[in-house]
């Protein structure tokens, strides 16, 4: 799939660059707290659970479930309404905002807790967005 022009473009910072390098390479990178072993998101070079700087970057499975969403019905540059703005819960625990592709944008098709998998969609040479689609074989 290709994205429509006009979608707001994220600008990586020193603390988040690894995440965006990861999506460009087809990997969903999370971080893990060295004290508790718990995964967290969004990226930062320390643990929000204990404050330790002892953290590691690891590749997530890309599996998630649909936690909640809205279906927006008004025009926004880069989007064709109605479109869902979703929050998914990753298998590793953290949640992230995303869009659901390869799925009708309707309450009937978008069922809470349905299994999803990550899909990397290129925005430009630097930015690739992590979107999600219904899990294959689900």
């Amino acid at each position: 799939m290709t994205l429509e022009p006009g979608r707001p473009r994220p600008e990586p910072t020193p603390e988040t660059r690894h995440f965006w390098e990861g999506t460009k390479a087809g990997k969903l990178l999370l971080q893990r707290c060295g004290d508790t072993g718990r995964a967290y998101f969004p990226p930062r070079p320390f643990s929000p659970y204990t404050g330790t700087r002892n953290v590691e970057i690891f590749e997530a499975s890309g599996r998630a479930t649909l936690h909640s969403y809205v279906i927006h019905h008004r025009p926004v540059p880069g989007f064709k309404p109605p479109y869902a703005i979703a929050v998914v819960e990753l298998e590793e625990g953290p949640r992230m905002m995303t869009n659901i592709i390869d799925c009708p944008q309707t309450p009937e098709a978008l069922v809470l807790d349905m299994p999803l998998e990550v899909a990397f969609v290129k925005m430009d040479d630097e930015i690739t967005l992590p979107l999600f689609r219904p899990a294959r074989g689900a």
Binding site: R7, P8, R9, P10, E11, P12, T13, T16, F41, P42, H67, S68, Y69, V70, I71, H72, H73, R74, V76, G78, F79, P82, Y83, I85, A86, V87, R95, M96, M97, T98, N99, P107, L112, M123, L129
Partner: protein, 383 residues
């Protein structure tokens, strides 16, 4: 020494002369118009004010200069629409500490006419700019309702339950000549109104208006010398969680509410049974439900039935959002000031939809998308 319930009082309170569509006032003048009305209400001049609070980048400096105030205490806390609850709490502490004696808190927002309005840029390097904005949110109607479907699934809340919130608040607004929307509505009207961001339709989203409001606080010992009946601050609470709604810990409950609310009750030394009147900032129809549960008025999942059974409507045992709320009265963008004004009116006995025998009012605000919270417990009786 710990601040005591009732030690600080609100002695001046007013809204801007007009609210709704005010195309002949810029944002700073809406602040000033409300401030002048509040000073008139309290019988004070700018030279009597020695503490000042308002929300907005650099706004305290602009406003004290505009109004001719020389403050020795300044607060520019800006955590969204509940900033005024935090200003009240901070001002009470400052007066208690002796930093100042008379604090003016102002709000003005040209939310509809957008005359010198505050821009709300989504900085693409911010965390929200990187991890929310690329996925298509466009303002609060697309962000604030994001947890709602999870809340509905968890507690069996129906679209009709969420429509009933707007229906009941319109009943209150019908009694208020200043309310933007006063015609009665039915659940069918709500569910047939234009879809904005499923599951919410137009009548479940707040208004966008122009307006302002101002409060004046001083010590309770001085309050008896003012022309208006004092409204005493019994307790207050505040908290913050996250700027990104996608990162709130629990989509069925606000952590910021669960910290601010109980702290205000604890400080005030009251129980829920003591509360005669309640305001819960209603930017969208789910907020009164979250507020009733997170403040402990009902158990988790029970707010839908509490509202459905009529307990919050006119004549009910817990009158809620008696001005009509952000859904029907007014919503400039930062509605918390208007919720506080209604609590003050109810305690003075001057509200258009006056509830009989109000002695204690709880006023609860939200900032951002469940990002922050402030709760104030007010009374017309000093303990």
């Amino acid at each position: 020494m710990t601040i005591k319930p009732g030690e600080i009082a609100i002695v001046g309170a007013a809204e801007s002369t007009r609210i709704g569509t005010v195309p002949d006032m810029s944002q700073i003048m809406l602040h000033a118009d409300a401030a002048l009305n509040a000073m008139e209400d309290a019988g004070l001049k700018p030279s009597d004010i020695d503490g000042f609070a308002c929300v907005g980048n650099m706004m305290p400096q602009q406003l004290v200069h505009y109004l001719g105030i020389t403050p020795k205490w300044v607060d520019g806390t800006g955590v969204g629409g509940c900033s005024f609850m935090l200003h009240v709490r901070h001002a009470a502490a400052a007066i208690h500490a002796g930093y100042c004696s008379t604090v003016l808190i102002t709000h003005g927002e040209s939310g509809k006419s957008r005359i010198n309005a505050t821009p709300r840029p989504a900085e693409p390097q911010s965390l929200q700019g990187q991890f929310e904005m690329p996925f298509g949110p466009m303002g609060p109607p697309t962000l604030f309702p994001i947890p709602v479907l999870r809340y509905m699934k968890t507690y069996g809340v129906t679209h009709e339950h969420l429509a009933q919130v707007a229906v009941v608040q319109r009943e209150w607004a019908a009694m208020n000549p200043r309310a933007a929307f006063r015609d009665p509505i039915t659940i069918a009207d709500v569910l047939n109104s234009r879809m904005i961001a499923y599951p919410f339709r137009l009548l479940q989203c707040c208004l966008v208006t122009d307006g302002g409001g101002a409060l004046i606080l001083t010590s309770a010992d001085r309050a008896k010398d003012f022309p208006q009946k004092p409204v005493y601050i019994l307790g207050s609470g505040e908290s913050a969680e996250a700027t990104m709604v996608s990162q709130m810990q629990d989509f069925t409950s606000s952590r910021a509410f669960r910290v601010a609310g109980p702290e205000a009750f604890r400080m005030a030394g009251i129980t829920h049974a003591d509360v005669d009147h309640l305001m819960i900032y209603d930017a969208f129809a789910h907020l009164p439900l979250y507020g009733l549960e997170d403040l402990g008025f009902v158990k988790r999942g029970e707010a839908k039935d509490f509202i459905w059974e009529g307990h919050t409507r006119p004549g009910g045992k817990l009158p809620l959002n008696t001005n009509g709320g952000g859904l029907s009265y007014t919503h400039t963008g930062m509605y918390g000031m208007f919720a506080l004004q209604e609590s003050v009116r109810q305690l003075r006995g001057t509200a258009p939809a006056q509830v009989p025998d109000v002695e204690i009012s709880v006023c609860h605000g939200v900032g951002g998308m469940f990002s922050a919270s402030g709760t104030v417990v007010l009374s017309n009786q000093r303990p």
